[in-house]
Amino acid sequence: MYRYDEYDQQIVNERVKQYRDQVRRRLSGELTEEEFLPLRLQNGLYMQIHAYMLRIAVPYGLISSKQMRMFAHIARKYDRGYGHFTTRQNIQFNWLKLEDTPDILADLASVEMHAIQTSGNCVRNITSDEFAGVAQDEVVDPRPYAEILRQWSTFHPEFAYLPRKFKIAISGGKEDRAAVYAHDIGLSATKNAQGEVGFRVLVGGGLGRTPIIGSEICEFVPWQHILTYVESILRIYNQYGRRDNKYKARIKILVKALGIDEFKRQVEADWADLKDGHGTLTIEEVNRVATFFTDPDYEKLTDHDSQLNEFKADSRSFSNWMLRNVKAHRVPGYAIVVLSLKKPGNAPGDATAEQMDAIADLAERYSFGELRVTHKQNLVLADVRQKDLVRLWQEATAHELTAPNIGLLTDIISCPGAEFCTLANARSIPLAQLIAERFEDWDFQHDIGEITLNISGCVNACGQHHIGNIGITGVEKKDHDEWYQVSLGGAEGNLSSIGKIIGPSFTFNQVPEVIDRLLQVYLRERLEAESFIDTVRRIGHVPFKEHVYATDFVVEEEEIVDKHVVVPAQYSVPYYSPRF
């Protein structure tokens, strides 16, 4: 993976110093909270309900064992012993004190990490394919370009105060695993007929309250021009994106208003004098960065291991895990292993400090000391020898990391929700737990097969509910009541689509029953080997909708004494609050 040179290190060190002084000025009152807000946000620091939350960048999801151990250290020393991996391949710590954050950044800088631009109206962490470099269908390894874009976007002087946040995703496989259609800019690395590398550029995709699938602005931008082309997109957006209404400020609204053809015309007019200019990427730079992403020292192995098959026959749990959590690797004798952070009953995406240390050890022993964070809030060991799978499974099971549910119903994507977030209308994590516990039965889950279930606590869609086959959104009807909308038919990947709401919203305790009814329709209607989403596409929403609303819900609602009081339900320790 990429390693800092003296320039990268110096820039990150100077950031720590700058930020430390900003915090000092805030604490001394030289900066008002209003003035400090954009500064701390550009550094990933949010003021949540109970404490400050810091979002740390994991560039394109790639992380070393050493860095993972630093997360464990931060969790223990400054937080409550755990962290939350996010849909943007980052990690969040939820229980911090403002005055500790400069020291946390200094700790991170010592392992080549930072929190630069993980929030704020700027270019955010670039996300990518979690199987980059090892996927069988890879056309172009996106990682060198992701790193080049990371550097280009870091402290870009012109684009730090955009109308709204700006997310770029880059993929390089035949199948899109980076949700490029759901980003402000989606880059799909590809090769033209001459075998030259370039990018299909999508623009104006995004979720939030106006979900839109990105439009193609250019079918093929040669690799040399990708930085200047992206620069021109950003410049047009910076000048003409709406700033009068926060909810209409994303680039998708501008692209929609102008139309993709007019938007493209403006971008390419701006680009005319940048094309072939000094900002053009050089082959030397691409090659230099690519030296960090060469193959590790793979052994010469074969795909057939008799011991593995024997063990598979013996152990049901192991064979389930092999089926769901182990993916094909492009090198014979190796496998990609997804460590599940979705054990039913646990908060999706959460890992404890002990788990982080264990994961770092596993990566070191079995996968060249590297890991990836997935946008589905799991972790990946990308280069595991097939002959190590049994041992790895046994060790990882001891740390609750082997729930055999990748791509299944309980592999739920969830935002932190109303227990943490000031934007959320409703709780997300407890609902994810409730659903996971109801459908925990592995036989049932394996029978249902591939399905995605996404939960967001509000319309801002951090849980990416629009692209879940089943999407759940927290909505407020009146006076802090907790209600959930259910949508159907969303999908990511090459056949991306936005889900449609099935009807009136539900209470917290009704949601698992709603999901059960949706699944009943699927089980009744599916053709052989047809996935949930394919059935929805074939038969449409109506049969699902009719069945869900056909009969009353018999569920006991919990007694809420005072719904205006936010209780951090799962945590009994006293908390530090910046708000009260």
Partner: protein, 177 residues
């Protein structure tokens, strides 16, 4: 006082801002060193261009191309930041410098605070009217937050990867081990 060319200097320019009753066409522009709104310049061009020294300022919604034939008539062009979170002024400055070739003083006015200065100087501002309730000596420090940058802008014509030799994998391993 303003910051100009990285030092604190005295300044006697006055920024003319119209109140609601005044129109760009009819407002009387006082004598002296005045920085007038773009619309006032466009409306009263014939009279104003007789003056020995005149400046103009753009709001963040205005286009620098509107000045493209007049650029060397001004002693100063200013760009207003109505609030620090409005980033349009950065692209205005970049376009004025890099596209239109403006070489005179380019001044940031309005909600101009220490932590924006590093970015502002990169896109082409060389003068900063710091918000009057803030310490200008303190703001000066904002110009030197970073000693190196990755990407091109107006200040650096070359990106870092074209300016310096950077190490590939084998060498980088030695930096932080």
């Amino acid at each position: 006082m303003i910051i100009k060319n990285k030092t604190i200097v005295a300044d006697d320019w006055i920024v003319l801002r119209l109140n609601e009753q005044e129109s760009a066409e009819n407002v009387a522009v006082p004598e002296g060193k005045m920085i007038v709104p773009l619309q006032v310049w466009l409306q009263q061009r014939d009279a104003l261009q007789q003056r020995a020294e005149i400046g103009v300022w753009l709001s963040s919604a205005e286009r620098p191309e509107d000045l493209k034939d007049d650029l060397n008539r001004f002693s100063v062009i200013a760009v207003d930041f109505p609030k620090f979170s409005d980033g349009r002024g950065y692209s205005i400055a970049y376009n004025l410098r890099a596209r239109l070739g403006y070489t005179g003083e380019l001044r940031a006015i309005g909600d101009v605070l220490r932590d924006q200065l590093f970015y502002m100087q990169r896109v082409g501002f060389d003068a900063f009217a710091i918000r009057s309730d803030r310490n200008i000596e303190d703001a000066l420090k904002g110009l030197t937050d970073f000693s190196e940058v990755y990407q091109t802008s107006f200040d650096h014509k070359l990106p870092l990867f074209r300016r310096v030799p950077r190490k590939g994998n084998s060498a980088a391993d030695m930096v932080n081990e």
